[in-house]
Symmetry: C2
Subunit: 481 residues, 2 copies
């Protein structure tokens, strides 16, 4: 494969340029005409469909239903929850005209759907019999990006899902927040093979309008943290602003308790960053659009018919067994060129079949992540591919875990915290007193903010890494995307 | 069920009010805060998911892939195909601000994606090897509605799919147009059980920017036609505007040939209109969110345990057999109330089970469309439900066909055309010379326009119903939504 088609920089040498080349050259995405926007191309879209499929089933199994709310929100509605509005205002795209006419009240292109959904919820929720109301939306949201675009990670529009639930009690809502957090954690760790740290956000970093925010954070190979998803307890902030009340079993009217939560196509970006290598994508088998590519090795005319026949037979065996397979018998490309292309595209397994394999009734399988070749007897094809996919998924998970652990440090002193952030990056676990002043100072002086907070489970009560006051929580400090 | 919950008008007496009540009270949709917009509620969303699932599989079987393009389109891009732009300008929502800043070039909220997609296509298409390019998008589009909103039928935002394909030759594109037209026709007739008339649009009615438009039109019970979907041959209009060229097998550069096509959630509106009755929705089994509801009939305490146990057993039998079933054992509602609620929701089959059924080892099944009761032996449950669903689907189709045929007339003279449109409505088939002047006059004088055109296959060459000039095509005139 020519230089222009393949990735021309090493992941270790120029990580940012590597990422850009990988997502563009593997044809996952392209830049769009409008600044800050991207196009999700078919190969990328299938990964999103695979993520959607798994999450959608998991949500439904827990009783959630899907719905669709409008993409334009009247300004007055967005203003109803004041903090929420002020938090989103810097990034809202505003519609002021329809056709050739100015419109009376400007409309916000949906930055998130709390306001528009809860307008409806106020009409739908009447009694405790209507609760819990468990809805989810698959849509896109718009948030004007002032920083430079990074496909999947930072774009002015992104595909995501947003859950919006209503409950009778604060406890029920808290339980929903944790149920979803666990669901996300399990999905990211088992399906995307990426370890996550979970915990609460500080008040500074929580969702604007929430009582509290639980977050999932993963470590990227450049030592920066990436927020993978969030699950918010909204308390009664929105129910009071929007008038969502219900007649309780006690015959009294109550304001409802709410949650919202979401993950976006950013998960695809994280997967690329964590697992990819200098040859291109390495896609975990569980979300791979193509799990195995069958490549006949044909050099001489005389042997080609038999190779092609056997290769297409194996392709059929694989698809019949339920694998996502591709048969690449394109003319005009050398086997080597094809190897490189499918490596760039991150297909977990390559099946090579040449005249020598046939003469020995064998098949050569190559795993994308470590490049290992395995030669097996033909009759073992389905069994071996099944186990290899499992092994690749496990290896990716283990490797990511190792990377993430290597990037997790502890610091008891501020000097140490500063030093680690400056030299190594990653997560630095330090006690924090809970005072936003310390948090602000640390952010200003090191560039690291609190990614998540966890309750300190150790017996001794440590002192805040910044001010020395007693602390009952451990903060994961880190620089973030 | 109380008057307020059920539909309070008969379909035959106040069709428009009936439709509004049905879609709202069955909880398919709700009005949104912004004028002209609607919310798709969970029960309606499942119908859309069912439609999506079937169509998506059919598209993919033909080699189409999904992608996502941005929802905001720079004005300069939308202007590239001049007719296209002028056609959409009256209904475009414009974004002028991002956060607190005016933006340089205003952005159109996507009214359709030709412009934004073809900007990318110009980059992606290089050689005949890249063709055909067969993409589809599932998204929502925004078109400011000046007329009053009718849920599913006329809203300022709607969910749809839009296919966008690129081909080497005019013939290849023409063949794609027809392939999709047939796919749509089969889906609407077999899955939605609604007959359609297919044909081309006149130049006046075709898609702005297309060479020609093929359309699918169905007759609604009030004698008005509804456009169900369209499939456009775009010729080279857009490829010339956007510079989509490819190196042909002849080593020459050529402008590509393109198609676009789409159907929207309007299909749900048509299904409600055609099949619904004065009790509410009647949903064709093939897209029903719930195919059968199991209702235990419990009056006296002493017999209730046995009834509940058997009913829940039958529910389990049905779900195990793959049916979409619901078990309604809610307390505090009479069986009669439940019957009405599930009738309102259009569930194809109701299973009733009372003490007398149990003592006789029988089950009572009631079909929603005709209200017929069938008493069967318990052991026949799965077999009978399978065949009943098929029978209901067939009956709905036959009934719709009868309605549509009753609304299809022929007129040789303009007097007759006018008379039919005025008194009876429906489709009126008449010869038309092809001159837009006649078309305009007929529209002005009768309110009917040409829904589709078909080639006249009869031997004698008839004369235009308006001007008397020779005609080689038959126009389906009708008033439309």
């Amino acid at each position: 494969m020519s230089k222009e088609i393949g990735v021309t920089v090493k992941k270790e040498e120029d990580y940012s340029e590597w990422y850009t080349q990988v997502v563009l050259k593997s044809e996952l995405v392209d830049y769009a005409s409008a600044k800050g926007f991207m196009v999700l191309r078919p190969y990328g879209y299938v990964i999103w469909e695979n993520i959607q499929g798994i999450l959608d089933k998991a949500f439904k199994r827990l009783g959630h239903q899907n719905a669709y709310f409008p993409s334009l929100i009247p300004e007055s509605l967005l203003r109803k929850e004041a903090k929420h509005f002020s938090g989103f205002i810097p990034e809202v795209f505003w519609v002021n005209e329809a056709g050739n006419n100015k419109i009376g009240e400007r409309l916000a292109a949906r930055p998130t759907s709390e306001a528009i959904a809860y307008y409806s919820y106020a009409k739908w929720v009447r009694s405790w019999r209507d609760l819990p109301l468990l809805l989810n939306c698959w849509n896109s949201v718009l948030r004007a990006e002032i920083k430079s675009t990074k496909p999947f990670i930072r774009t002015s529009e992104f595909l995501w899902q947003e859950g919006h639930t209503v409950h009778e009690s604060k406890e029920d809502a808290a339980s929903e927040v944790m149920t979803i957090l666990r669901l996300y954690k399990d999905f990211i760790e088992e399906t995307l093979a990426i370890p996550v740290v979970v915990g609460s956000k500080s008040d500074r970093e929580k969702f604007v309008g929430a009582l509290y925010t639980m977050s999932l954070e993963s470590m990227m190979p450049d030592g920066k943290a990436l927020q993978m998803g969030t699950s918010h307890h909204l308390g009664q902030n929105f129910s009071k602003a929007f008038g969502i009340t219900f007649l309780g079993k006690d015959k009294q009217n109550h304001f409802a308790w709410q949650t919202s939560w979401g993950v976006s196509w950013r998960l695809i970006g994280a997967t690329i960053m964590v697992h990819g290598d200098s040859k291109g994508l390495v896609i975990p088998p569980k979300i791979a659009p193509i799990q195995i590519v069958v490549i006949p090795i044909v050099f001489k005319k005389e042997s080609s018919a038999q190779v092609l026949e056997r290769a297409s037979l194996f392709y059929k065996t694989l698809t019949d067994a339920g694998f996502k397979a591709v048969y690449d018998d394109r003319d005009g490309y050398t086997p080597g060129w094809k190897f490189h292309e499918w490596e760039l595209k991150g297909v977990p397994i390559r099946l090579e079949l040449g005249p020598r394999d046939i003469s020995q009734s064998q098949i050569t399988l190559v795993s994308r992540d470590d490049g290992e070749k395995t030669v097996i007897g033909e009759e073992l094809l389905v069994d071996r591919v099944t186990s290899m996919l499992d092994e690749i998924q496990s290896r990716l998970k283990a490797k990511a875990k190792k990377m993430s652990e290597a990037y997790t440090s502890e610091a008891d002193s501020y000097e140490s915290l500063k030093q680690i952030i400056k030299t190594k990056g990653g997560f630095v676990k330090s006690p924090w007193c809970g005072d936003q002043k310390c948090e602000d100072k640390i952010k200003d002086e090191t560039g690291a903010d609190i990614r998540v907070l966890q309750v300190n489970s150790e017996e001794k009560s440590p002192s805040c890494v910044y001010c020395g006051q007693p602390s009952n929580q451990i903060a994961y400090f880190g620089k973030a995307y």
